[in-house]
């Protein structure tokens, strides 16, 4: 089985590689369209800023590659946000796989809400194959200032003042806002299920 991790100007790729390694899977970090298309599974990770990331993808034609993939794809963190339609972060049009708007957390009262959200939060309403072995209300590790709104594609919900999409799925496209590669056993189980799709 070939697992491609899309290489672009966004961090945390090494952590994803190590997490796969702990599951006995060797991932390949690549920005080569042919290699990505030929992979059995594709992971689209990311920590960073939306507009520079989109620009990078477009310059290399990776935006069209990603949206046309037929095999299971897993977006992580910024990856999820880029798979949505549009992000408030620097008013960036994104890939549009999910018809969802990405918004910035707003504190209802000054200083009440710390932004970014950093830490472990529980996820509920789980209904996707990738959560097959993840119990309802499991805790996952989140680091983000922007969130995907709730939508028909929402397959897990988290709450940080608002309820938002902790995970989205449409056909072969899966995406999680949290970092499964850093979410202890619960995250490991999710990755395991994704790799078995």
């Amino acid at each position: 089985m070939k697992t491609a991790i899309i290489k672009y100007n966004a961090g945390n790729i090494r952590s994803v590689l190590f997490a796969l390694d702990r599951l006995g899977v060797q991932g390949t970090v690549t920005d080569d369209p042919e290699e990505i298309r030929a992979a059995d599974k594709v992971i689209f990770p990311g920590v960073g800023e939306a507009s520079t990331a989109m620009q990078y993808l477009q310059q290399r034609g990776l935006d069209k590659v990603i949206t046309s993939l037929q095999q299971p794809v897993l977006g992580i963190c910024l990856g999820l946000q880029l798979m949505c339609k549009h992000s408030e972060e620097n008013n960036t049009p994104c890939l549009g796989i999910f018809d969802v708007e990405v918004k910035r957390f707003q504190s209802p009262v000054a200083n009440l809400l710390k932004i970014p959200q950093i830490g472990w939060n529980n996820i509920a309403g789980l209904h996707s194959t990738i959560f097959e072995k993840v119990p309802e209300n499991s805790y996952m590790y989140f680091v983000h200032s922007y969130y995907a709104a709730l939508a028909p594609e929402t397959v897990a919900i988290a709450n940080y003042v608002v309820n938002y999409s902790a995970a989205l799925q449409k056909d072969n496209f899966y995406a999680v806002q949290f970092h499964p590669e850093k979410s202890a056993e619960a995250g490991q189980k999710l990755l395991e299920s994704f790799l078995k799709l």
């Binding site: 952590s15 504190s107 200083n111 472990w120 983000h144 202890a184």
Partner: protein, 251 residues
């Protein structure tokens, strides 16, 4: 709901833990990777590795160690100690660290915080402050608590947040090592007035000290070293206890 975090801190010298002790269920308590993995398995929410090596060889050793930790530990971890440039941080993040912490060098050259947050994002920049209460206020100390400054801890924390620090790791030197509890006043002042998470450090001795710092000082996370290393408090017991006290905790 977002939970409060429990963070064991491991001091590292020449690639080995300094206070590593007495864990019968691991082979080598001096091995930061093995100890880190054990804490992760016990339910620690994050780890902090503080490198106190002073030699020139430190950077290479540390980068190798960070890669080892990232390979074996499945929770987020912060690396600190002697970081003074964008290049230092680049190497550590590339090696697999999730966050880095800066202390003295950032105080001496605050632009470092701007540079780091611009380059890597605020979410991975932790500002560590060592502070001591004297003459009616909390002052910043540098160089591992050896050098006094005339700057108040709150003022420096606020400036650093404005410059892009994503979290504050606040150690009270008055409380550190006393086991009499965390410094609730200064922790609370920072936590309630700054828009970033505050990690309380120094003084943990009982499980109730954690309850206090979360409930009365609104700390977002609490860090401790010796009570975990010497197994005076074990993480699963602590989390169970906090949960029973109604603290929102991953358990």
């Amino acid at each position: 709901m977002l939970t409060k975090r429990i963070i064991p801190c491991l001091d590292i010298k020449d690639g080995r833990t300094v206070k590593g002790v007495n864990f019968e269920n691991i082979r080598d308590a001096g091995d930061p990777i093995e100890l880190g993995a054990l804490y992760a398995q016990q339910g620690a929410d994050e780890l902090v590795f503080l490198d106190i090596t002073a030699t020139n060889e430190r950077r290479k050793t540390l980068a190798e160690l960070v890669t080892g930790i990232a390979r074996h530990v499945n929770i987020p971890f912060t690396v600190g100690g002697g970081i003074s440039s964008v290049e230092d941080v680049y190497v550590l993040l590339q090696s697999g660290a999730d966050k880095i912490s800066v202390n003295t060098t950032a105080f001496k050259r605050p632009e470092l915080v701007d540079e780091l947050s611009r380059e890597f994002g605020s979410q991975c920049i932790v500002l560590a402050i060592d502070t001591r209460f004297e003459e009616g206020d909390w002052y910043v100390y540098l160089n591992g608590g050896r050098v006094k400054t005339t700057t108040k801890a709150y003022d420096w924390a606020k400036e650093a947040v404005d410059r892009g620090a994503g979290e504050i790791l606040l150690t009270s030197m008055n409380n550190d090592g006393t086991k009499q509890g965390f410094a609730l006043d200064i922790t609370g002042q920072l936590s309630q007035n700054l828009n970033v998470p505050v990690i309380a450090s120094g003084g943990a001795g009982t499980m109730d000290h954690f309850t206090e710092v979360f409930e009365n000082a609104q700390a977002d996370a609490a860090l401790a070293a010796s009570i975990f290393h010497y197994k005076e408090i074990e993480i699963p017991d602590l989390k169970k206890y906090l949960y029973s006290k109604g603290i929102n905790i991953r358990f």
